[in-house]
């Protein structure tokens, strides 16, 4: 009895957390299953009176949802891959090989967060136009990696330092060159860190809106956030469709998380604290 009472505050806290985090998501999800009339009712129904998939049907037939989804995945996966690569190489150079001026370079990380991104839009557009890569996924991936890599490089520092230098020396004694040491000795040991970085970059890219909407022109290249904002058009909004679009933007991002979320939590932990 006493034990149950003692746990009460903890249960209450957990309940509050669930309401805060999952409440809004529940509300959007059930809204997407309502009819166009029920969704706007002034006395909201906590559960749809009649479940309908009309909004979803419309989403899949009238919009290029499939294209947007594919594009989002392509951009997010490539962003993740390149971020991992750039950040790993950068971190290895900065923190393991200690290039001269490394500390100053590491400080650039901070600088990159001080800049209001919106003003970079037009000069960037011009740079990319010069390179003939406006309206390509390449441009978007470049931007995404440029914004994620600095933070990720710093994140990997903790992981690198957790790997004893003696391992390098042992590898050198065994006749491994510096590149071999890096790729076949250190890299595998950094797996949790790299996974963390990959997830972080994936999510960054998945949620990115400002640059994607600016750099992509062709409908066939657009990502999910742009597709979603297009539903809220000028002059009128189809709320059911918007809710269905919101749900379908959330779910694909959630699914991989159900599998790798645990490792991400562990990874970020290690990186941040070591």
């Amino acid at each position: 009895m006493h034990a149950i009472l003692a746990r009460m505050p903890r249960w209450a806290a957990m309940a509050v957390l669930m309401v805060i985090v999952l409440g809004p998501l529940y509300w959007v999800t059930i809204s997407s299953l309502k009819s166009r009339e029920e969704i706007l009712r002034t006395t909201p129904t906590l559960f749809p009176q009649s479940v309908t998939f009309d909004s979803f049907r419309q989403l899949f037939t009238a919009t290029d949802y499939g294209t947007y989804l594919t594009n989002s995945f392509i951009v997010a996966l490539l962003t993740a891959a390149f971020t991992v690569l750039v950040a790993f190489l950068g971190a290895y150079g900065l923190y393991r090989l200690r290039v001269p001026g490394g500390d100053k370079i590491a400080g650039l990380v901070l600088l990159s967060y001080m800049i209001p991104g919106t003003l970079l839009l037009v000069p960037l557009y011009q740079v990319f136009a010069q390179l003939r890569i406006v309206n390509t996924h390449t441009a978007l991936i470049l931007v995404n990696v440029a914004f994620t890599a600095p933070f990720c490089t710093w994140l990997l520092r903790g992981f690198l330092q957790a790997i004893p230098k003696e391992i390098d020396e042992a590898a050198a004694v065994d006749g491994a060159g510096p590149l071999r040491t890096m790729f076949s000795v250190v890299l595998p040991l950094m797996a949790p860190g790299l996974a963390t970085v990959a997830v972080y970059a994936f999510v960054y890219s998945w949620t990115e809106f400002v640059f994607a909407s600016q750099l992509l022109v062709d409908d066939a290249l657009k990502t999910l956030p742009i597709g979603l904002s297009a539903i809220m058009g000028q002059y009128t909004v189809n709320w059911g469709l918007l809710m269905a679009g919101t749900v379908c933007t959330m779910i694909p991002a959630i699914v991989p998380f159900l599998f790798v979320g645990k490792y991400f939590v562990g990874g970020l932990t290690a990186g941040a604290v070591k």
């Binding site: 009339e37 136009a129 390179l131 890569i133 406006v134 297009a230 809220m232 189809n238």
Partner: protein, 445 residues
């Protein structure tokens, strides 16, 4: 290894640029440059009508056009109003602008100085001879003796009301005057319902509704002869005072409303009236669960004393920005094809009721009138066409052409003024004077 690829891309692209430039130089410097990476024989069309139903309907039409085997097939690329200003600036500077860009009058004043807009005077005259444009169609695009865009469709605001809800409140006649409107809004308010849903967020939706009321109070033209703002006038202050009073009967969170919220409130029965354009027709039955007869419409109410009919009205048009003459001609051909009566209706009915015909034979075109939404709400559609005659748009009243209007509408000055009054409780006269100052600053740049 992949890193190398990323780094190699820059020089690679640079080499590509050099190659392309070289190729064009040899080819006499024409063609090729304007297209977006490959496929140089398609015309790109940018428009900002994002809702999926509109995109889908226009795609069907474009597909049909492309089946006629034109020299340059057309491809639509949908853009967002919020990004188009930066995008088109970047595109023009890098020579990747579309061949056709849909526009509204004040956006045209922004794009023209970028330097790629071609005059389309000849084709517009030709089309006028063939289909007879109404006057309001071309006027806002006429400047320096040239027409700068091909008018495509019109839009006008109306007073929409729920017959069922007003009847409940004992009102059987549509409000005709400002006083009627206030009385009706007051009578219909109560029991968790608002008399009217008005937008008052910092956005274009708010600007437009306020402007409709300004027109009915004779304050539609707030520029001097030489294009200077002349906003601080009694008629303007009166209009804002009236809008503020009306806001008492609008939902309490109106100050964050844009296009979607008033319509949702109206259809759900949370509000009995709203002022907007013809997009209210199509979803009404489905979203309200009420029969079509319950959707009432009327001209924008006007002051009983000295009022005049009026409503915001503007023609949407298409600019041609092609790099070379052959493409420009093809773009004009496509636009002319859209205006053919047998195609025009299908084009307009991408959002039936919102997009109104601008040509005399378009009004009668079967392809337009036969649509279910148009036949169901024929009476309201006719009223909209009638209202169009008294319509106007700020900066373009009576043949005016204010070059800097884009700076004023871009900042949503009208919406900012009503927010100061309704949200901060500022005196209307003071707020309007502040609005005049904002406009002056905007025009002087």
């Amino acid at each position: 290894m992949t890193v190398r690829r990323i780094r190699r891309r820059a020089p690679l692209s640079a080499a590509l640029v050099a190659l392309t430039l070289g190729a064009t130089a040899c080819g006499g410097g024409t063609g090729g440059v304007a297209d977006q990476g490959g496929g140089g024989d398609t015309l790109t069309l940018w428009h900002m009508e994002q809702p999926p139903n509109r995109v889908e309907a226009w795609q069907a039409l474009i597909d049909r056009y492309n089946e006629t085997d034109p020299e340059f097939p057309v491809e639509q690329q949908v853009q967002d109003w919020n990004q188009i200003y930066t995008k088109i600036a970047g595109a023009v500077q890098s020579n990747t602008q579309p061949d056709i860009l849909f526009t509204i009058p004040d956006f045209t004043t922004y794009v023209r100085p970028l330097g790629k807009v071609r005059p389309v005077t000849d084709v517009v005259e030709e089309l006028d001879g063939e289909h007879r444009y109404i006057e309001a169609a071309t006027a806002p695009y006429t400047d320096e003796d040239e027409v700068w865009a091909v008018p495509m469709y019109g839009m006008v605001q109306m007073l929409w009301y729920r017959e069922d809800l007003l009847a409940e409140a004992g009102i059987t006649e549509a409000p005709e005057t400002w006083e009627d409107l206030l009385a009706a809004a007051e009578a219909a308010t109560g029991d968790g319902r608002s008399g009217i849903a008005l937008p008052a967020g910092k956005n274009l939706a708010t600007d437009q509704v306020i402007y409709s009321f300004m027109l009915t109070n004779g304050a539609g033209d707030f520029f001097t002869e030489d294009g200077q703002p002349d906003f601080d006038r009694p008629e303007v202050v009166e209009t804002f005072e009236f809008y503020d009073r009306l806001m008492e009967f609008s939902p309490p969170d109106s100050a964050n409303y844009s296009w979607g919220e008033p319509q949702a409130a109206f259809n759900s029965g949370a509000a009995a009236m709203a002022i907007e354009k013809g997009q209210y027709l199509m979803p009404f039955e489905e979203e309200s669960g009420r029969p079509a007869e319950d959707l009432g419409c009327a001209p924008i109410p006007q002051p009983a004393d000295g009022g005049q009919p009026g409503s915001i009205y503007y023609s949407n048009a298409a600019m041609v920005l092609s790099e070379d003459d052959a493409r420009a001609e093809a773009a004009e051909d496509f636009l002319a094809w859209l205006l053919q009566p047998e195609n025009y209706g299908e084009f307009l009915n991408a959002e039936p009721g919102l997009f109104l015909p601008l040509t005399e034979d378009g009004v009668e075109a079967e392809s337009w009138t036969s649509h279910e939404v148009i036949t169901t709400y024929r009476d309201c559609v006719d009223q909209m066409l009638e209202q169009s005659r008294s319509g106007a748009l700020f900066g373009f009243v009576g043949g005016q052409y204010v070059d800097e209007i884009g700076n004023i509408s871009g900042q949503n000055v009208l919406a900012q003024v009503i927010q100061q009054i309704a949200v901060e409780g500022r005196d209307p006269a003071e707020a309007v004077a502040a609005g005049q100052q904002m406009m002056l600053d905007a025009v002087q740049g």
